[in-house]
């Protein structure tokens, strides 16, 4: 018993001198909840990775713009973007699809064209895909037409490799769609040519759409605000939180001032949200969730992390980049 008593004293003393059994990192900061409201940071360059961070798609002569992003079954991300070659005619863009398992790795499914303009109303131009995931199928809404932009609809049952287009556009006078559904209500966010705000259209089935009478968000006109002059290229998501309550989340490009002739506009990414799809609010403070230059966001929220694709000038061409939160 003497040994027991002595041993306990020795053990306690040694333990107090620093022989612990747990790690010494500052805890309590891991896996915090998020709804993807940022702030986002561009993927930092890593000389040891094969990727030219933060760029997902970039080229010296080709423009990559207006991405879309969905989760891939089995892990990873499926991405879409608009690809336009420098050859005439202007606007002869095509929608490409690829997939990657890791943001720091090259796509394990390299990007390939999946949707081209072959309808009269598309006027040789398809762009700005927005993907809605349903059970066993995907719905794509996209921009078509140059002189009179409209939204088209296509459907895929093979994970987005091939698409069957609807016979006619589903929404006129609209471009750059972002679409989501809560299972009952469908909402499409879009812009209109010549209008600086973001509009909504609503649908019960994702086929027949009724646009609102007025935009839900407009430029705020505030001096030095990143969204003073114009809003554009929205993306929309229906996010269900751990409590079971959901809300509509909207990311968009905000423009402080119109660019000089020949320059590309310098968008920054803004954020707004709504519980009911009717009343929309923007965060206080007037700060973007991703600093300029970055526009046309596409966002996916996965537990405590969010990933954003955006388009931005890289050199002389537009490219698609990656940003993350946290």
């Amino acid at each position: 018993m003497r040994a027991l008593a002595s041993t306990s004293l020795v053990v306690a003393t040694l333990a107090g001198c620093g022989i612990g059994i747990a790690d010494d990192a500052s805890g309590g900061e891991e896996d915090l909840p998020t709804v993807g409201a940022g702030p986002f940071r561009r993927l930092p360059f890593d000389e040891n990775s094969p990727v030219d961070e933060p760029w997902l798609a970039t080229d010296r002569i080709i423009d990559f713009t207006e991405p879309a992003l969905v989760a891939r079954a089995g892990g990873g991300l499926v991405f879409y973007f608009t690809r336009e070659s420098p050859d005439p005619p202007v606007g002869d863009s095509v929608i490409w699809r690829g997939a990657l398992r890791d943001l720091r790795q090259l796509p394990d499914e390299p990007a390939v064209p999946v949707l081209s303009a072959d309808q009269t109303w598309e006027e040789g131009h398809v762009a700005a895909p927005a993907i809605v995931e349903l059970a066993g199928r995907q719905i794509m809404f996209y921009e078509g037409g140059l002189t009179t932009p409209q939204l088209g609809r296509a459907e895929s049952t093979d994970g987005g490799l091939t698409w069957q287009k609807a016979a006619a556009p589903v929404l006129a006078n609209a471009r750059s769609p972002g679409v989501a559904t809560d299972g009952a209500l469908w909402i499409a966010a879009f812009t209109r040519p010549g209008d600086p705000g973001i509009w909504l259209a609503r649908s019960d089935d994702g086929v027949a759409w009724t646009p609102d009478d007025a935009p839900i968000l407009g430029p705020n006109g505030l001096m030095d605000s990143f969204e003073r002059t114009e809003l554009g290229a929205p993306t929309l998501a229906w996010l269900v939180e751990s409590t079971g309550r959901g809300h509509w989340a909207l990311w968009y490009g905000g423009l402080e001032k119109l660019p000089d002739v020949g320059d590309a506009p310098r968008y920054a990414v803004g954020y707004a949200a709504s519980f009911d799809g009717m009343e929309w609010v923007r965060p206080g403070g007037g700060r973007p969730v991703l600093a300029a230059p970055a526009g046309a966001p596409a966002v996916i929220v996965d537990g405590p992390a969010a990933t954003m694709l955006f388009d931005s000038v890289n050199g002389r061409r537009l490219a698609v980049g990656i940003a993350t939160h946290p």
Partner: protein, 431 residues
């Protein structure tokens, strides 16, 4: 500008108890403590023995706390718990002086600041990561009453950093700056007093008051000087940057406890504590940051937004009941075996986090068990009783839901839940 938040509050002993016997009885020790743990639980109980008592133990608590099912990786709290009680007599009255120390084996104290909106487990973040030190005096009064009082200590730093000279521009490496750093070690003392009355040979009632405190961290950073290339006319003459950060860094609520300890039979004793904690005066610990900048003609290029007012945290006072049972399971001339059990309920002082703050905390149900072995001595060296105590503690934090008022909240709704497992091994020596 990001608001920064200090998150240290109270101390690890408040959270996990002091010593294995106390832990094993659910912390219901205000009237039941009979060892050097009285330095924390009730200094009046120091005067209850004629022996010199030294307690040495090690205790560990490992939180497993999650938000939305994702573990937050909250740090463990572990360290050495030491207590001392030295009896004596003054003018015929029996008294004792004592000291209690909880010495973490990771850091003496931890201070860190987090973004204002960042979710954090308010009572488990920095709170268990600091030293506890108390010195006390207990005295036995006529009528089976004893009284005790003492002081607990806490320290922190407060500092100013000043740089003077030339700030190199455009090549910062040409800067010629003189550093002047002034750091003070600030000490905070807060009182604790206790009274104990042996109403009957089998019944003791007691009460304690433990003072609250808050520690404000006030730090400034100044750069004064010209901006430009050394040897050339400066771009800016006598530019300066002044930054001051003021934050409530540590907080402990005032506590009042009423307690009873009943030795119902020679083998069975029951202890009960009811403690009130004044959390309602807790202030938002986010840093108030003030910035002044003067860079001459370039001032128009910089906009420093005003800091938004900090939202009130709206913590509320809580009452915490604790119940402990101790049973003398087996007694032989050379061995006393005791078994202990306890329960404590600590309601959360934090309201539902529906606004911009995210001070996460839940109600806590703590179940404890433990045992002790008392020997009459150890060989020919220690002739007075020696005790070895062990305890196991499990605190359950049932799931709590936080729903945000605005859809645009960057954190959104979440659920928080958790479990804290801990234990202690102590030895008590009498001389």
């Amino acid at each position: 500008m990001v608001g920064l938040t200090g998150t240290a509050r109270a101390n690890p002993v408040d959270l996990f108890g002091f010593g294995a016997r106390a832990q094993g009885m659910g912390g219901a020790m205000t009237a039941a403590t009979d060892d050097a743990g009285a330095n924390y639980y009730n200094p009046a109980r120091l005067a209850g023995s004629d022996d010199i008592r030294i307690d040495v133990g090690y205790q560990l608590a490992q939180p497993f706390l999650a938000v939305d099912g994702n573990s937050q990786g909250v740090d463990s709290s572990r360290g050495l718990a030491i207590g001392l009680a030295m009896p004596g007599k003054l003018a015929g009255a029996r008294l004792a002086i004592g000291a209690g120390l909880y010495l973490p084996d990771q850091q003496i104290t931890r201070t860190r600041t987090l973004p204002s909106q960042q979710p954090r487990w308010s009572l488990y973040d920095n709170r268990p990561q600091r030293l506890f030190l108390a010195a006390n005096l207990g005295i036995a009064l006529p009528g089976n009453v004893s009284f005790g009082a003492g002081i607990s200590y806490m320290s922190s730093t407060q500092g100013d950093v000043a740089l003077q000279g030339i700030v190199g521009f455009p090549d910062a490496t040409t800067s010629q700056l003189i550093l002047d750093m002034n750091v003070d070690l600030k000490t905070i003392r807060y009182p604790q007093v206790g009274v104990s009355w042996d109403v009957k040979p089998w019944l003791t009632v007691a009460a304690t008051y433990r003072g609250g405190f808050k520690l404000v961290l006030d730090q400034t950073f100044d750069i004064t000087g010209d901006i430009g290339t050394p040897g050339s006319p400066p771009l800016v003459d006598n530019g300066f940057l002044h930054l001051r950060s003021v934050a409530q860094d540590l907080f402990q609520p005032a506590q009042v406890t009423a307690a009873a300890h009943a030795r119902i039979t020679p083998r069975l004793a029951v202890a009960f504590d009811l403690a009130w904690h004044r959390w309602s005066v807790f202030e938002n610990p986010a840093a108030q940051i003030e910035i002044e900048l003067d860079i001459g003609d370039f001032n128009d290029l910089v906009t420093i937004p005003p800091q938004e007012p900090l939202p009130a945290p709206h913590f509320h006072d809580i009452a915490t009941p604790r119940l402990g049972v101790e049973w003398l399971a087996r007694a032989t001339p050379r061995r006393l075996w005791r078994v202990r059990g306890g329960y404590a309920y600590e309601p959360s002082p934090t309201p539902e986090q529906f606004g911009s703050t995210n001070f996460i905390d839940n109600d806590k149900h703590t179940f404890t068990t433990g045992g002790g072995l008392e020997l009459p001595g150890v060989g020919d060296v220690i002739l007075r009783p020696v005790s070895i105590d062990i305890s196991l503690v499990a605190t359950f934090l049932p799931e709590r839901t936080h729903r945000k008022l605005v859809a645009v909240d960057p954190i959104g709704d979440y659920k928080a839940s958790g479990l804290v497992l801990g234990g202690s091994l102590s030895s008590r020596w009498r001389f």
